[in-house]
Symmetry: C2
Subunit: 335 residues, 2 copies
């Protein structure tokens, strides 16, 4: 396969990440279509020329095509991007399956782990679309509104087929986004999913005002525990130390706009998990992911005290102070 | 050696870190003395009961003893703490050497690498005091003013003698500081020193307003390059992924009060390196460390593009924009 850019791309999903990618692709003059699950919402986004719900304040490109029809959205696409929340993926792709052209690569930018099946995004796609699907994943420290302002960012693309990864690299690389390739699909997806749970914990630390020393320790310990589970599941340790692990974890935990961090911050300031969720229309990926990670950790007997603490705070109404004291009170020992 | 706390501690150095440690030790009721190079400055700190230059706004404990006399400061100490800037260490310890009681452990909390010799702190101590010196190092994400507010933090102590490390762990552990042991003295010192160079770069990114995506990528790439040199010099990769590596790097790069980050931020906003240094009385450890790291990297042929860029900006007046463009413009490749 040549290393040229894909020229015709369909983005499945009309959320923040789908919108930002459409901007970058249209900037490059690539033929880009956006499909959304709800035709009425997609029409309203098209009418306003702005993703008023998930990326307000930024104009969508005039050359972006909005296509609500399943078959028309897929027809002729050289690359299909999956940018829907993880827990909605199975439903969306079951609906789109009859229209997906065979042999066309699908790039997931979704970050999560499906509840119940405990599958990560490209595994969900393979499960729904069958083993012949050509799959890739793109991830990295890419807070959407910074990309919308064309501030510089980096990301990694991972695929089993290196030629596909390199074409995706060419397709998305632009003056504000530098894309690297990586062959560890497991690691890229697992790191991207699990860091959202640690970001909820980091937000809680912010919310209670525990300070940057505590938050930095939490990040180091958090990265250690998600690396532990990741490598147990076959991922490479290096991926967790890289852009899609450490890098993405850092942005998600420090950006004032990170959804998962902000959700945790509201809890740290005294809101209940229910109130903290209701304060935003956005899907807080880390919440459902936390359930899946706790289940995976139990299955594989990996100790994940921070993830466990987030689970108890979010799903079992454990008071934040108690969860933090328990984390701090573990016995003195070697690092 | 028993695992009991040291009961009588002398802190060599009247800077921010020496002051904060004296507070924590006095909180625990341990007999604590502070020695300073300049008797007049030490007397003024004692008179005001506050380290007006390096930790203003926080009262020093009333049971802290200020001792400007070299022999009296050392006499009867069970543990001596070295809390002077790296480039001043040789001078200070050459002066104190005749008074250091044999067999008393010296704990370095200094973060840096000596120019010229390219030695890290405990190696400088061994060089000055001789091979019989019992040495240890303490490091971690411990921005001083958060500790002064008794916000929770973590640190690692590393020593060749594990019993010494455990006694230091007991000595410094308190409700707001959790101390872990680690046997990688090289790694703890190298990580603590080199992260200050990356923090200057992170500050530059803040100063030019490049955003959190770029900053997170810089942290991930920065940790990778300091890990590369560290492991080449015999340190453990795990140390760089832990509290004294990643953890300390994160605090230093995100805390608004980090000296090295703030120095970089002033440069990013357009000040010359000279102006950025003159804006503070504090020693910017990362500046001298940067020189040493560039020399070590050349000696060991390790590629360190971020450290090199900081060097060129700070010592060769390379324009920030040019340095950043060169970092961004490296060829597309695998991560």
């Amino acid at each position: 396969m040549s290393q040229e850019s894909f020229e015709s791309i369909t983005i499945v999903g009309d959320g923040g990440m789908g919108s930002i990618l459409s901007m970058l692709l249209c900037d490059k003059g690539l033929a880009t279509r956006m499909w959304g699950y709800d035709p009425a919402q997609l029409a309203e986004i098209a009418r306003r020329g702005e993703n008023f719900r998930f990326l307000p304040g930024y104009k969508l490109p005039s050359n972006l095509v909005f296509e609500p029809r399943d078959s028309e959205a897929m027809r002729g696409a050289e690359l299909i991007v999956c940018a829907v929340p993880c827990q909605y993926m199975r439903n969306v792709w079951t609906r789109l399956k009859p229209h997906v052209p065979p042999g066309v690569p699908i790039l997931s930018v979704t970050k999560g782990i499906e509840n119940g099946t405990l599958l990560r995004p490209t595994r969900i796609l393979a499960d729904v679309l069958g083993p012949a699907a050509i799959l890739a994943t793109l991830s990295g420290p890419t807070i959407a509104d910074e990309l919308a302002r064309r501030l510089p960012a980096t990301a990694c693309v991972a695929a089993r087929d290196e030629g596909v990864a390199r074409r995706i690299q060419r397709t998305f690389t632009c003056p504000c986004l530098r894309v690297y390739t990586n062959n560890d699909v497991d690691g890229v997806e697992l790191a991207g999913a699990m860091k959202n749970v640690i970001a909820i914990a980091a937000g809680i630390v912010d919310g209670v005002g525990a300070g940057d020393n505590a938050k930095a320790a939490l990040l180091a310990r958090g990265l250690a525990e998600i690396t532990r589970l990741g490598t147990t599941l076959g991922a490479s340790e290096q991926t967790f130390a890289g852009l899609t692990g450490l890098g993405d974890l850092v942005t998600t935990c420090i950006s004032p706009r990170g959804r998962n961090r902000s959700f945790g911050e509201r809890i740290g300031k005294g809101q209940s998990p229910q109130q903290a969720q209701q304060a935003t229309e956005c899907v807080i990926e880390g919440v459902a992911t936390c359930q899946s990670v706790v289940a995976l950790a139990a299955q594989h007997r990996v100790e994940m005290p921070i993830t466990q603490a987030v689970y108890e705070v979010v799903f079992e109404n454990k008071p934040v102070r108690k969860a933090m004291e328990e984390l701090m009170a573990r016995r003195l020992k070697a690092e």
